[in-house]
Symmetry: C2
Subunit: 220 residues, 2 copies
C-alpha cells in the first residue's frame, strides 16, 4: 500500500503537470506540498526507485503509467468525497477541500463505489473539477478563463480551480460558483483588472491573477 505521503506526492505531481506530461520542478512540488526542496528530492528519488515516477535529475519529475494510475485513484477519491460532503451532508463548498485531503487516504474502494452510486456517478465535484472514472479516464477538456476569454460574450462558469478557503469565500460572496452566468464587461491589462457583469446586473471587480482561476464556457 502507498502511504498517504506517497499518495499526496503523486497526486500533486499529476495536478502540477496540468494533464499533459510536462516535467514538474522540485521547487513547485516542494512548495505545493509545503516541504523544503531537499525533502521533495529525497522523496522523488524513492518514488522513482519504486517505478512510480521518472526523475530527470536536476530537470524535474514526471509520472509513470503506474504512478498516474495511483494519482488518478487519489484524485477520484478526493473529488467524490467533496461531492458527498456537499450533496449529502450539506457542507459548504468552500470548506470541504481540507476534509477531503485527509479522507482521500482512508476510504476503501468498497465505500467509494457505494458513495459514487449514491451520488449518481457525478462527472464533476462542487468546484467543477472533473472526477476520474473507476478506470482512470478523466475529462481533459480545456476551457478559457476569465483572464483569457472574449469580452462581452455571455458565459457560464464551469470550474473554480484554486482551493484556498479565502479565494472560494470570495467567489461565493460574489456568486461566482460553477453554473453561474456572467460576462466580462471590461478587461484592463495595464491595470491588471477585470470587471464582470452578472445577469443580476451586479458588477464584480477582480485581478487578472484571480480571474485565471475561474474557467468559463460560452453560455448556451
Amino acid at each position: 500500500m502507498a502511504t498517504s505521503t506517497v499518495e499526496n506526492y503523486l497526486k500533486q505531481i499529476l495536478l502540477l503537470s496540468a494533464g499533459d506530461d510536462a516535467l514538474v520542478s522540485m521547487g513547485d512540488l516542494a512548495a505545493a506540498l509545503a516541504v523544503v526542496p531537499g525533502t521533495a528530492t529525497t522523496m522523488v528519488k524513492s518514488l522513482a526507485s519504486d517505478g512510480l515516477v521518472d526523475h530527470h535529475l536536476r530537470h524535474g519529475v514526471r509520472l509513470t503509467a503506474a504512478g498516474r494510475r495511483v494519482a488518478l485513484g487519489v484524485l477520484r477519491r478526493h473529488r467524490l468525497i467533496e461531492t458527498f460532503l456537499v450533496e449529502v451532508l450539506k457542507m459548504d463548498w468552500t470548506e470541504v477541500h481540507a476534509e477531503a485531503e485527509l479522507l482521500e487516504h482512508a476510504i476503501s474502494d468498497a465505500v467509494l463505489d457505494r458513495l459514487d452510486a449514491l451520488l449518481g456517478h457525478p462527472a464533476a465535484d462542487p468546484h467543477g473539477d472533473p472526477i476520474p472514472t473507476r478506470l482512470g479516464k478523466i475529462d481533459a477538456q480545456v476551457y478559457a478563463t476569465l483572464a483569457t476569454c472574449v469580452v462581452a460574450q455571455p458565459l457560464r462558469i464551469v470550474r473554480v480551480t484554486e482551493q484556498s478557503g479565502e479565494f472560494l469565500q470570495f467567489a461565493e460572496r460574489n456568486g461566482l460558483r460553477p453554473g453561474a452566468r456572467v460576462r466580462v464587461a471590461e478587461r484592463d491589462l495595464a491595470a491588471g483588472l477585470i470587471t464582470l457583469k452578472k445577469t443580476s446586473g451586479r458588477t464584480v471587480a477582480l485581478s487578472l491573477a484571480a480571474a485565471g482561476n475561474i474557467l468559463v464556457a460560452p453560455a448556451r
Copy 2:
C-alpha cells in the same frame, strides 16, 4: 493533534479496561494492537509523559481523565461511522469494523456532527455497541451474556461484542443480530456447549466462549 497510533492505543486501553478503571497489562495491550510487548511499553511511556495515561511500572496502564476524553472521542467516531456505513450506504454489519478503524482517524468534528444529525443521534451502532455522546457520556449498562444468563427465559440480543469478520458472519448466518429474540434451551457446562432456540423454532449450537460475546436482556 494525537497521531492515529496514539488514538489507537488510547481507544484500546479504554476497551480493555472494560469501563471501570482496571489496570491494563502490556501483554494484553500489545496483543490487541498486534505489536510486540516492548513496543507497547515504549509507547505507553510516551503517553504517560504526555499526561494521557498513568503507567504503573511492571503492573499496567490506566487512562487519565485527559486520555479518557481522547479515547471516548475516537470511540464515538468509530461507532458513528459504522452506523453511517450500514444505515446510509447499506453495507453489511459484518464488514464495517475494518473500514471504521481507518476512518475514525480522518474525520473532523464538523463532518461527525453532520453524520450524527443525519442518523438521528443514534444511541448504539450496528453491533449494539453504545455510542458516547459529544460530551463523552457512555452508557455503562451491564448485560448478561448467553453464557451467563438464566436458561429457558425469552431473551432479546442487545449487543455482539467481538468484531472479527468470521464471528460476525457466523452470527449473521444464524440470525443472531441485535434485536433478535432467542432463549437458551440447554447449557452443558461440562461439554462447554450451549443450545439456543429461536422464535422460528430453529436451534443453534455454540461454544461457551462464543456465547460470551453475545449480550442479552429479558425480552419485554
